[in-house]
Amino acid sequence: METVVFALLNGVIYGLLLFMLSSGLTLIFSMMGVLNFAHASFYMLGAYFAYTLMEGSNFWIALFIAPVLVGLAGMVVERYGLRKVHARGHVAELLFTFGLAYLIDEVVKIFWGRTAVNYKVPELLDFPLFTLYGAQYPAYRIFILLVAILMLVALWYLLRRTRAGLIIQAALTHPHMVGHLGHNVPMIFMMVFGAGCALAGLAGVIGGNYFITDPAMAVQMGPIVFVVVVVGGLGSLEGAFIAAMLIGLLQTSAVSINASLADIFGFLGLAGTSEVGGITIASMAPMLPFLLLVLVLMVRPTGLMGDREV
C-alpha cells in the first residue's frame, strides 16, 4: 500500500512536469508543423538560469525571472532564426532546431562546466512535509505539484476563456484567415514560441533541483517529451496531458516494482537465476515510454487525441 501511494504521488508530479514541457512543445508543433528538437534545451536553460540567479538572489526571484529569461531567449530564436528558416520548409526547420539543441548544449558546457552544478532545493522547502506509513515525504515535491497545477489552470484559462487564447487557437489552425481579420499572426507566433519556452524553463527551474542539473539533462528529457507529444496526439493539449500523466505514472510505478521477470513468468519455468529471469520490472522502466511510442505509432498513428498523422 505504501509503495502504491508513493508511486502514485511521484507519478503525478513527474507527469505534471512532463506536461509542463510537452504543453509548450505541442503548441509550438501546431504552429510550425514540425517538432522542436531544441525544446528540452530550454528546460535545461531554465535550470541553469535559476541556479545562477539563486547565487545572486534567492529561489523565489529565480522562480519568476528564470522562465521569463528563457521565454525571451525563445522569442529571439523565433524572430531571428526560425521565422527566416520557416520559409525554406519543414526539413530546414527541423535541422535548425536540431542544430540549436547542440548549440545550447555546448554553450551550457562552456558557461557552467561539464559536470553537474549544485542547484539545491531552497532551504525553506527542504523539510519533510508529512509522514506516511513511517516514510517522510519531502515538502518540495508538493511544491512542484502546486506550481504545476497553478500553471495548468492558468494555461487552461488563458487558452479557453480569454479572447487572446481564442485568437491563439485560431492562429494555429487558420493563420492566414486570422491575419485577414487584423490580428498580427507573426507576433502571436513569436509569443507562443516564447511562452512555450518559458513553460519549459519553468519546468527546469522546479525540476532541475528535484532531479539533477547537468549538461545531459536536455538529452535525457528530450526524447521522453517527444514521446508524450506523439502519444498524446500532435498538437493536442488534452492529449499531451493524458499522455504525460500516463507516462509519469507508468515510469514511477515500474521503478517501484521489485519483481523480476522470473516472479511473473515463473509458472512458465523461467528461473530467477537465469539471465532473463533476473531482469527486474524496475530496470525496464526507462524503456516503457519508448515501447508505448512504438505501439501507439503502430496502432493509432494520430496519437490518443490528435487528428493528424505523424
Binding site: L166, M177, H180, H183, P186
Partner: protein
C-alpha cells in the same frame, strides 16, 4: 486653396501581375473602386478572378500597384491591410469550426478598445439562424450559414471595403438569394464591396459596376445597364 472635387478611388489597381510558379496568371489588371461602390468581378473559371482577390490581400505575391485609400498596400503584411479597413471573405470561408458562432464573431473585432459600428448582438438579430446556434460550434453550421458567419465576422472588424470571393458557390438557390440579400444590406450600410461572382443574376442585381475578366486581364468595364446590352461580351467571355 484648391478645393479638389475629384473623389479619390477607395481601391486603385494598376498593372497588377501575379504568378503561380512559372505560369503568369494575372496579366496586368487595372481596376478602380470608388467609396460606397459595389463592383462585380465576372468571368469564366480560371481567368484569374479569385487570384485578383488573393493578390490584393497578399495571399498571392502581387507585382504592380495596389492603392487602398491612397496608400500602397502591395506586399504589406495581411493584418496591416486588414487594419487599414480592407476586409476579406475568402472562397474557402475559413470559419473556426471548433469555436462557437459567438466566438467566431468575437475574433472578427480587431481591437477590443476600439470596437466598430457593428455589434455581435446586431449580427445575431439580423440572422436568426446564427442566433439560434450562437453557442454551438461553428463547424455544425450549413454551407449557407457558414457563408453568413464569415461575412458577419468580417463586418465585426468594421471594414470600409470587403472583398467577397464566390460567396454563393455550392449553395442551394434559396440560400443564394439570402446571401445576395445580405450583400445588398452590407452595401446599404455604406461599405464598398468587390464581389467575385459567377452567378450573373446576383451580380447584376447588386452591382453598381461590372468588370469582366478574360485571360488574366480586365476585358470589359461598365454599368449593369450597359452590360445588359453587350451580348458580344457575354458570348465571348462568359458563356460556356
Amino acid at each position: 486653396m484648391n478645393m479638389a472635387t475629384t473623389i479619390e478611388p477607395m481601391l486603385a489597381i494598376k498593372d497588377l501581375h501575379a504568378y503561380y510558379g512559372k505560369s503568369h496568371v494575372l496579366n496586368g489588371v487595372n481596376m478602380e473602386i470608388m467609396p460606397g461602390e459595389v463592383i462585380a468581378l465576372l468571368g469564366r473559371n480560371g481567368v484569374g478572378r479569385s487570384t485578383t482577390a488573393k493578390a490584393i490581400m497578399g495571399e498571392v505575391a502581387p507585382v504592380g500597384s495596389i492603392r487602398f485609400k491612397g496608400q500602397e498596400i502591395s506586399g504589406m503584411p495581411n493584418h496591416k491591410i486588414a487594419r487599414l479597413g480592407l476586409g476579406y471573405v475568402p472562397e474557402s470561408r475559413d470559419i473556426f469550426p471548433a469555436m462557437t458562432v459567438r466566438q467566431n464573431l468575437l475574433l472578427g473585432i480587431k481591437d477590443m478598445r476600439r470596437p466598430g459600428k457593428w455589434t455581435i448582438q446586431q449580427m445575431l438579430d439580423m440572422f436568426p439562424n446564427l442566433a439560434r446556434r450562437a453557442d454551438n460550434p461553428a463547424g455544425v453550421l450549413s454551407g449557407g450559414e457558414k457563408q453568413m458567419l464569415t461575412m458577419c465576422r468580417t463586418l465585426m472588424g468594421d471594414p470600409d471595403l470587403i472583398i467577397i470571393d464566390e460567396p454563393t458557390e455550392g449553395l442551394a438557390p434559396l440560400i443564394v438569394q439570402q446571401v445576395g440579400d445580405m450583400i445588398a444590406e452590407i452595401a446599404k450600410a455604406g461599405v464598398s464591396i468587390l464581389l467575385v461572382e459567377q452567378k450573373l443574376s446576383i451580380a447584376l442585381r447588386i452591382a453598381d459596376r461590372v468588370y469582366v475578366m478574360g485571360h488574366g486581364e480586365i476585358v470589359y468595364g461598365g454599368t449593369p445597364e450597359d452590360f445588359a446590352t453587350r451580348d458580344d461580351i457575354r458570348k465571348e467571355w462568359l458563356e460556356v
